[in-house]
């Protein structure tokens, strides 16, 4: 057991950093387990930075970055990655946007070329913009509008918990905003945020570090430096009471609710933040978890319950402020307040007495296990390293997480439970709308 928690992780060996003259930060991480490589670019802009009146623009822009660049016609990026045997994707988060591919190691230089070309000179055209607005609208219909609980809670909860536009608005975007986006917006966004000094390049896998560094310099080195935007603070005061709102979901068969709380700032209270991550597991991971026991099996108030440190479901994925969520789906016969009261009761109990050591040990063993599994997948480990470097300032944090979580003390979990106060939270209820 303990040996598995403290065993030297393969990450301990060989992570190296470089910074190119244009400011691009580079992480080189050799991992010879399999003859594959991964290349990822994390750019320091997410949907919290998109301008007012342009909701959804950071994500729309991510789509545009796949539409061709100076050396690559529309569709060429996809074709070159896939015809090299690789897979690719991109995603837009609160504070960053990533672009990445995993390929057989023979394609390392090709992958670096593809990422460098679009970071240097993306082909932003009117035709591609209009086409990708249509594609993004279909993505939103698929993931939000045409399904039960679409956008629950990540789109629906923030406007209840937060006051300021960056934290409260819908990162997928309103259709009217998306339709008004124009080419000048795209050019300005690229010039402001996609400077090489505002990005982290991560290269992981079956590489020789020095050879990889040479290839990185060859392809990214001549991208001209541009001013790096000053990063605004998104801080706002915590809620000064319990805020409630309700929405109707035409597709939902059962009512649901989401509780939202503020998390500690991981930049100055990492241990407090991690205690919240452990608390989330203690509450709802597994049959023996506190809220699962109480709400699902004991009082039988809910069908499903889930807690998460981080609005998007993963811890440490965003800077401050970020959100601790508890969501539950319940029968129409159960009143919302009964569920909330039972949650408060369990939190109060944990705050007063804390978890027992054996209960805590089981939770952290599960964390270690899930992180090992995640890091067995090159793509997941690469993305974790890249985002930890960009968002938290230290890639190593991604690999240290099992050990740090295992070190969280019962008292810290009790304090985290006590910090989830009824008088500083948001409650969103979802009511079935009787449609399909």
């Amino acid at each position: 057991m303990t040996s598995s928690l403290t065993a030297p992780n393969r990450a301990d060996s060989g992570l190296q950093r470089r910074v190119l003259d244009n400011g691009l930060r580079v992480l080189l991480v050799p991992d010879p387990a399999a003859p594959v490589v991964g290349v990822a670019v994390h750019v320091d802009v997410g949907f919290r930075s998109e301008p007012e009146g342009r909701t959804g623009f950071a994500h729309l822009f991510e789509h545009l970055m796949f539409q061709g660049s100076e050396s690559l016609e529309k569709l060429a990026h996809f074709r070159h990655v896939q015809s090299s045997g690789g897979v690719f994707n991109g995603s837009t988060h609160q504070d960053y946007t990533n672009y990445f591919e995993v390929l057989p190691s023979a394609a390392l230089e090709r992958a670096l070329f593809l990422e460098a070309d679009r970071l240097r000179a993306p082909r932003l055209t009117q035709e591609n913009l209009r086409n990708q607005v249509d594609v993004v609208k279909e993505e939103i219909r698929l993931n939000v509008l045409n399904r039960p609980y679409g956008g629950f809670p990540w789109i629906l909860l923030p406007p209840v918990l937060y006051d300021t536009y960056p934290n409260a608005h819908n990162g997928y975007g309103d259709f009217t905003d998306l339709e008004q986006a124009d080419l000048d917006d795209a050019a300005a966004f690229f010039d402001a945020y996609y400077a090489p000094g505002n990005a982290v390049l991560t290269v992981v896998g079956d590489i020789d570090v020095d050879d990889a560094a040479t290839l990185v310099e060859k392809h990214f080195g001549d991208i001209p430096a541009r001013p790096v935007p000053s990063r605004p603070s998104f801080a706002e005061p915590p809620p000064d009471g319990e805020r409630r709102d309700a929405v109707v979901d035409a597709h939902a068969p059962l009512p649901a609710l989401a509780l939202g709380y503020r998390l500690p700032d991981p930049a100055n209270d990492l241990d407090g933040y991690l205690a919240h991550a452990v608390l989330a597991s203690l509450l709802t991971d597994g049959e023996a978890a506190r809220l699962t026991q109480r709400l699902v099996y004991g009082d039988q108030l809910v069908t499903d319950v889930s807690a998460s440190a981080g609005l998007m479901g993963a811890p440490l994925d965003a800077r401050d402020p970020d959100t601790f969520t508890i969501t539950a789906v319940h029968p129409a016969t159960v009143d919302t307040d009964r569920v909330v009261a039972a949650v408060d009761d369990e939190l109060a109990r944990l705050a007063a007495r804390g978890p027992d050591a054996e209960e805590l040990r089981r939770v952290t063993a599960r964390w270690a296990s899930s992180l090992h599994r995640e890091h067995d997948r090159l793509m997941s480990r690469m993305l974790a390293l890249g985002s930890a470097e960009l968002v938290q300032g230290r890639a190593e944090l991604a690999d240290e997480l099992p050990g740090r979580l295992a070190a969280v003390e019962p008292a810290a979990v009790a304090a985290a439970a006590g910090a989830l106060r009824p008088d500083a939270r948001a409650i969103l209820t979802v009511t079935p709308g009787g449609g399909q």
Binding site: P35, G85, A192, P232, A365
Partner: protein, 466 residues
């Protein structure tokens, strides 16, 4: 946002070009081969096939168990059996207690070794998926044996799980993808048991604990089943530990799914979903499975049509027309063969135009053969993605279990890249012409009939009831 001032700001056109101009794509370098991992593949006296593979990248072990679990209550075609509901509840309540462990005790023991176990059923098989920290393998196997041999399915837990399952089914039944899947299965296979992927709520409510216990005793059997372990382990030692842990699981053959009825080409059925903002298009036709010599050519033809992003369907429906977020074509395998499935979700207002384009691409694939470049791109992708899928313990375990369930082994996986390399452009063209003729398809369109029926009627080939 903190945009630069207008004097320094570039236009979109300026951003897209540099003094150097377009640069050439670098060639591929040399590719290192993957050594075959240490493996033991054997059949125990009970008839259980066990495959254990050493992959020690992380200190974990992955476990997959597949038990053939077809409706054995009668000949295929008996639509009214309670098998799907009983099987679904079995998969849920098997974790709610054994003679030695309570529901919480099971979870605590697994959590102590960073472990999890999940059960699922479909009309073909019962699948168990689990993992644990490597030094917890014995605990993982002990819990597995306990569940397989001594699950009690207590009355009170069953009553609760019945209610939760009904709620989950009602929830899933509101998902457009689930509605479309059910409609497609019925359009393809009528009332055959294979259509019953999710029981109806009223069927679940009628299931007794005795029925669940009886099904576990009669059908959860080792003969013909496969257990795969991949991870930081010694293969021979792991097999011995399985043999010892599962010594009590000893008699009888599990029920394998028989051949499915052949698909009949027919009009697509319009299924009304009033008020839907998006429509689901699902088209299906007969194909062949891994044992057919044309399988590799079929895989490459399928990739060209819609098996990956750089395909004709995605480039047309998404990147040219903007009708959809995704369009795909895939092969659905069963123990005896395979069928093709072409699917996309599109905005309601472009339902008929999207169907027109899907049919156009099917016809084009059949009569305008994939070019040498298209075949080469699909070939590289297939070989590369096979390599990538084998690089994780979890992925490798799932892949092996899937192959072994159909009588194949890791040798098939190792040899498949060479088979794919040997497929000619002509063979791909022949497979495309054989399997993708638009007239070979059946299927469904799930859509708001009020806003889509006129267009679909004008297009034709769609059965519109009412």
């Amino acid at each position: 946002m903190s945009a630069p001032t207008s004097s320094t700001r570039r236009s979109a056109e300026e951003i897209g070009s540099t003094p150097t101009g377009p640069r050439p794509l670098p060639p591929l370098g040399p590719q290192r081969a993957v050594p075959a991992p240490d493996e033991v593949d054997t059949v125990l006296a009970s008839g259980l096939r066990v495959i254990a593979v050493r992959r020690a990248e992380v200190p974990m072990v992955e476990m997959r168990l597949r038990v053939p679990f077809a409706d054995g209550t009668g000949p295929n075609g008996s639509g009214g059996s309670d098998h799907p509901a009983v099987a679904e509840l079995l998969a849920t309540t098997i974790l709610s207690g054994t003679r030695r462990r309570s529901r919480v005790g099971i979870d605590d023991d697994l959590a102590g070794v960073g472990g999890e176990i999940g059960f699922s059923v479909d009309p073909e098989r019962l699948a168990v998926s689990g993992h644990a920290l490597a030094d917890g393998l014995d605990t993982l196997l002990d819990v597995l044996a306990d569940l397989l041999l001594d699950a009690t399915h207590p009355e009170d837990e069953l009553a609760r799980e019945r209610e939760r399952l009904v709620e989950r089914i009602e929830m899933a039944s509101a998902q457009p993808s689930v509605i479309a899947r059910r409609a497609l299965q019925e359009r393809r296979y009528g009332t055959h048991p294979v259509t019953r992927e999710m029981p109806r709520p009223e069927e679940v409510s009628a299931v007794s604990a005795d029925a669940v216990r009886a099904l576990q005793a009669a059908a959860l059997l080792p003969g013909g089943s496969v257990l795969v372990l991949v991870g930081d382990l010694d293969p021979a030692g792991a097999v011995a530990r399985v043999e010892s842990a599962l010594a009590g699981w000893s008699s009888g053959d599990a029920d394998a799914l028989g051949p499915l009825p052949g698909l009949t080409a027919q009009d697509l059925l319009l299924v009304d979903r009033p008020g839907a903002v998006q429509s689901q298009l699902r088209l299906s036709a007969p194909a062949v499975g891994r044992s057919d010599p044309r399988y590799g050519a079929l895989q490459l033809a399928n990739l060209t049509l819609g098996g990956y992003f750089s395909s004709r369907l995605v480039e047309n429906l998404r990147e040219d027309k903007g009708y959809t977020y995704h369009a795909s074509s895939s092969l659905e395998l069963d123990p005896h063969g395979a069928v093709l499935l072409v699917e996309t979700d599109v905005a309601s207002e472009v339902t008929a135009p999207a169907l027109l384009e899907v049919r156009y691409e099917l016809g084009r694939l059949a009569v305008v053969p994939p070019s040498a470049d298209e075949v080469e791109s699909a070939r590289r992708y297939l070989v590369g993605s096979l390599l990538i899928s084998m690089t994780t313990q979890a992925g490798y375990a799932s892949t092996l279990a899937g192959l072994a369930a159909y009588g194949l082994s890791s040798a098939w996986l190792r040899e498949h890249p060479a088979r794919i390399e040997a497929v000619t452009v002509e063979e791909v063209a022949a497979a495309a012409a054989t399997f993708y003729a638009p007239t070979a398809f059946t299927g469904v369109v799930v859509a708001d009939a009020a806003s889509t029926a006129d267009g679909l009627r004008a297009l034709g080939g769609v059965e519109i009831r009412s």
